[in-house]
Symmetry: C2
Subunit: 320 residues, 2 copies
């Protein structure tokens, strides 16, 4: 029988997803579990392996019907060794050979990569990147992750950490500090982690928000969804912050353009739900900076894989 | 007879160099001419072709002893078509098919690329990059150019303009404007074009320079060589500017590290003559920013090809 199924595993901080997809990237079945949180390494691996076996079995397939198992996890992954160097998603996992540990339960090949690389490859195989040889995928949510496709493969660099545009510095003297400890990384300025600070600053400047947050609201919980609501009710503070973020993402895309000159940039992640108001600012910033330096078309589009992009991308890794 | 010679052509703004090199990158003969300046397109091509034929003939070789002819030229080059899109080195050359024009004089293959790409490939083939699969070359002189080697080949992007790290923006609100028109590009902040402004600023701040520039000195002519002299006589203003530049180059290298995670970065160009005082600042800035995010060794070294790097690099393009 022809192998025509892929298994994807997305290990998030709160949710672990396991899917079976076909070679067109369509989901056949999925399992979500939160039981992985706070498990030690061995127990997490066991949980993942059991769920993979379960999803195969309950669909009346056998392991040999699968091309392989692809796993995506946030953090620094040393791709060639299949190890998690560090990840904020799994407490205490340091230099852990996750790929080989899961592999020990299976005969089909197991691959482990960074979640943004997985999404990038999913987008390339099944989404907006179909038909391109080269592209850059940028996910904008709490942080900013990215994956680079060159000549139909992920470009990972020597460790596997290439594509960390989120950590490139674009405002060295910024008040905004990233989780990495540096000031003015793109992700410190542009994405979810910046929203509470930016909101507070605007209020301090005397601007009035229509959001009507409760007086005891913990501002550190301010998310893209709050600002999405703000955008809907025409809240000037929310709109300003969205434009600020759009400016920095546009600048980041300009820097990617100068660096890699790709024909396609795909944007994913929660903040793209801000929609055209946001995308227009991103694009206008990019085109204002790039002006007469664009000699071949560059497309900037929103991911079209949707909510399961992470786990479908993980499955796609088996096709690389 | 085995083909074992390469011809390189470096078309600069004031000087055009033509070399014969062997496959180890050693120069057998070279011709320099300034006669190309202000020629029209047809006459420049004729001059280049005549000089190539001359250097072959006077060394008792024939065209068929050569693997090919590689040409490097500053500016935007559309590699796949072999056209100069724009270049400040040759007045009036716009969308000019230089490769095909030179090719019409020869049977062996002719290649045209950006001068920084040519230098990068020369460094990869014959210099500090030997033995690596991936590297980034950065040339720091009046401007900042770069070339990216991925999997033993130049990565050029869709047009051929990839690697323009010099145009990435690292200080959006900087007073320093690049020739591209944007504020705070890496090259506006870090290299030769920034020196007059930085010097003037330091003097305005009341700092005293020991350089003893003549009272009628045209500050726009202040070059890296002036500051090199300043460094030698312990001039505090020169040293501060060199450190400023080193900081931005270090930050630029950090951004390259996050973007491409290469095992090797090679620095060339005139400002590297500032020596260890400069290189130490570049490296210390990089390592302060990268801290615990380096998981595999990254080497940052100075080019070891020397003064003829441009034209040797152009010759190397024939080996790609």
């Amino acid at each position: 029988m022809m192998k025509k199924l892929l298994c994807g595993v997305d290990i998030g901080g709160t949710k672990c997803s396991i899917v079976l997809v076909n070679v067109e990237g369509q989901i056949i079945d999925k399992i979500h579990t939160c039981a992985h949180v706070d498990r030690n390494e061995e127990d997490l691996v066991k949980l993942v392996a059991e769920n993979i076996k379960e999803i195969i079995k309950r669909n009346d397939f056998q392991e040999s019907d699968l091309l392989g198992i692809g796993m995506g996890c946030a953090g620094h992954i040393r791709f060639r060794d299949g190890t998690i160097i560090t990840t904020s998603n799994l407490k205490g996992f340091k230099n852990y050979p996750l790929r080989d540990a899961v592999q020990s339960y299976f005969k089909i090949p197991v691959v482990l990569d960074n979640d943004a690389n997985a999404q990038a490859f999913g987008e390339f195989k099944f989404g907006a990147g179909k038909g391109f040889n080269d592209m850059v995928f940028l996910t904008i949510s709490t942080g900013i992750g990215a994956g680079i496709i060159i000549n139909k493969k992920l470009y990972r660099g020597v460790t596997g950490t290439a594509g960390e545009f989120g950590h490139t510095i674009v405002e060295p003297n910024s008040e905004l500090t990233c989780t990495c400890g540096n000031r003015g990384c793109l992700m410190a300025c542009a994405c979810g982690m910046a929203l509470p600070y930016l909101f507070e600053q605007k209020i301090k400047e005397g601007k009035k928000s229509k959001l009507n947050l409760p007086s005891n609201f913990n501002l550190s919980k301010l998310s893209g969804q709050h600002l999405k609501k703000g955008l809907e009710i025409d809240d000037p503070v929310s709109k300003e912050i969205i434009l600020d973020s759009g400016y920095y993402v546009g600048l980041g895309i300009y820097n990617i353009f100068q660096t890699l000159n790709p024909p396609l940039i795909v944007l994913g992640g929660g903040l793209t739900n801000w929609g055209d108001f946001y995308l227009d600012k991103i694009k206008s910033t990019f085109y204002e900076l790039a002006r007469d330096m664009i000699f071949d078309p560059i497309e900037i589009v929103i991911s079209n894989i949707g909510a399961d992009a992470g786990v479908i991308g993980a499955a796609a890794l088996t096709l690389e």
